[in-house]
Amino acid sequence: MRSFSGRGWTASLICLSVVVAACATGGGSSGPPLAGCKSGTTLATFWTSHTPPDSDSLKHVIDTYNGQSTVGCVKMVQVPGSETDVTKLMTAVRGGSGPDVYMLDRFTVAERAAAGVLTDLTKYGAGNLSSKYVDFAWKEATFQGKPYALPLDTDVRALWYRKDLLKAAGVDITPLDPANGPVTIDQVRTMANKVNQQDASGAYNVIGFVPWVDQGWHYTWGFDFGGSFFDSGTCKVTPNDPKIVSAFTTMFGDWAKALGPEKAQTWVSSFLPPNNPPQQWPFLTGKTAFIITGDWPLNWVKQYKPDLQYGVTYIPVPKTGDTPSTWAGGWSLVIPTGAKHADAGYDFMKYLAGPDGMKTYVTETQHLPTWKALGSDASLYQGDHVFFATKLLPVAKSRPPIPVGAFYWDQLSTAQDAVVRQSATADKALADVATNTNAKLQQFCPLK
């Protein structure tokens, strides 16, 4: 064991030089910046945190773009990240090494714009596109009246139900047919309770409906009860809107109490633990008969249980005759501050978020478009997706685009959790949300 002999040093020097060489590679040459691009185009980098299959589709769009564009040549980079965690983008932009185009959760556009991470797109004429996109998506893409993003896809929430489980429990499922309009919450409660199954120890094997899991969020039920989360006039969040309080009380507090809060939470931890693989989604495994979720599980059904007997309808409403609602999220494209090839980047954005690029993307991924003209094109959708695109998208609401959106979301989630576990009343929990969030929001007021 003669460590640190001369040989060891030589070896380590070689290692080091390998490292340095590895770092130093790269650099440009004349001709097209990348294979598949036209010469004379400018290389623009595009970051997304999406992974296959979505990133595969993005690649297709990019290949088409690169083949025809005389302006830009796009290189896509998959970066780790999630909806609100933009550590990587933040640090990179700060260091002047950010991408030219970034795919950002649209509801955080205002927040990132307020922080100075995004480029105002007015000078590229993005403002002229406002009428091309669905209303809520465009609103999310702006901050203080200026466009900071081009909207890409969207997603909406619905009530899914298992026909087989409900029939086996003796439930008449005709009211659930969306052709009959939305069902009421009371109707769903009655149906769901017939499906509940407990074992000898009292633990739930099956719960008909747990309204606070999956996409049963504060916003879902708050909008459903007609609540309003933000008052732009006073520049204050309004989580203690009586309608939201009533939504929290009915769907979280009282519902959990009726099931037994602890038993219900044990069911949640057993069948919906964090990072649960989609194969074990309780709706697929028959552990629940109703669930509020988006359109993306259509892919899971196709992949993991194609023979599933299920249906999709409106989110149940408080009273007969109420208009149905849902909320929509989705992604957008932005140019981070300090982008080196912003012009080429914008050219690509316009393509991907325009009719051609978005059409390819939403068709391949079965996401929903924000380009108005594509929404009404039923040929883009298969099966139940038609319902999402044609019935739900038009009634969709969206989260208020405020510069403390991520904080507000966390606060609402904390309140939801407290109400479900019966540790606070809806009134109290939501009043706290208002206090905490408005304290943070104040510095950005007034908002245009």
Binding site: L16, H50, T51, S82, T91, A92, G95, Q279, N299
Partner: protein, 300 residues
């Protein structure tokens, strides 16, 4: 603690410890051979469960993942998952990157920490104790505090999206390893250095020719700890590397999870592959490794 420990063989000592045991062979045999094994196997079961779960899940097919309760052994083990996992992400590229980062960090740690620790342990100079207190205090700085400032430093150096921010700091010492090395060097009798000084040796020569050979086990510990940490490091590469062709495996694992999906069995297959090299390293160097720890850490 004395240096003697270094030479203490780690191999099993079979000799009976007391005269009493020799008189009662049967009970003694039971006590020496059966009881410890029962305890050890019991403990190991607890520690092997996560591994077992990882390896068996890695062999399961997609349909089997939705069986409740989960199956303990794959119904139809599918080693093809390992192939799929390697193809799902650019595994060979990530692997090479991990190796470069790990090797670079380990070399840096192996060079810098003994050198620095020597300066704190075996040379007297004014302000040394204060300076050592500062070294220890840096342990208490939460990393998120440093992220922004560090990023600025590396940006100015033009090192973003290279391996340098991940490797170069290792060449400037790490307080944990400095501490470990210093504890070891303090135990070596001061006379060794003194006699060399009388012979006119310079301090670097003493370090190089006399102390370092004696400190090899401790250096090995530092290298192995640094290597394992670098192999699994997550947050740093996440921040400093941008092009996916430079990502290490620890980050690559994230790609098995997407916004609405987790490739659970593939993630487990890839994780198994990520762990195996380190586990192999541990098994191969266990003897050396444990001896190395023993000399460094005992005198807290």
């Amino acid at each position: 603690m004395t240096v003697r420990t270094v030479e203490r063989p780690l191999a099993v000592e079979q000799r009976p410890r007391t005269g009493r045991r020799r008189q009662r062979p049967l009970a003694g045999l039971f006590q020496a051979a059966v009881t410890p094994r029962v305890i050890l196997i019991g403990m190991c079961v607890l520690y092997v469960v996560p591994f077992y779960w990882m390896a068996t899940t890695a062999l399961k097919d997609n349909p089997e993942l939705n069986i409740y309760p989960p199956t303990l052994w794959p119904q139809a083990p599918n080693p093809g998952n390992f192939v799929s996992a390697v193809r799902y992400i650019p595994f060979p590229q990530f692997f090479i990157n991990s190796v470069i980062l790990t090797a670079g960090t380990a070399i840096g740690a192996g060079i810098s920490n003994p050198l620095i620790a020597y300066g704190f342990a075996r040379i007297r100079w004014p302000g040394r104790d204060l300076m050592f207190a500062i070294v220890m205090a840096t342990i208490f700085v939460p990393f998120p505090v440093l992220i922004l400032g560090l990023f600025d430093v590396f940006t100015k150096l033009g090192w973003i999206d290279t391996f340098l921010p991940l490797i170069v700091p290792a060449f400037f010492g790490n307080p944990f390893y400095i501490f470990l090395m210093r504890q070891f060097l303090l135990q070596l009798p001061i006379e060794i250095s003194d006699s060399a000084r009388i012979d006119g040796a310079r301090e670097l020569q003493i370090f190089w020719h006399i102390i370092l050979p004696l400190a090899k086990p401790a250096v090995a510990v530092v290298i192995i700890f640094a290597a394992v940490a670098a192999w699994n490091e997550f947050l740093l590469p996440l921040i400093y590397l941008q092009d996916e062709s430079r990502y290490p495996l620890a980050i690559g694992l994230q790609f098995f999870r997407s916004q609405h999906n987790v490739q659970y069995n593939l993630l487990m297959a890839a994780s198994t592959l990520v762990v195996l090299p380190v586990l192999g390293l541990f098994l191969a160097f266990q003897k050396f490794f444990i001896e190395g720890v023993s000399v460094g850490a005992v005198k807290g």
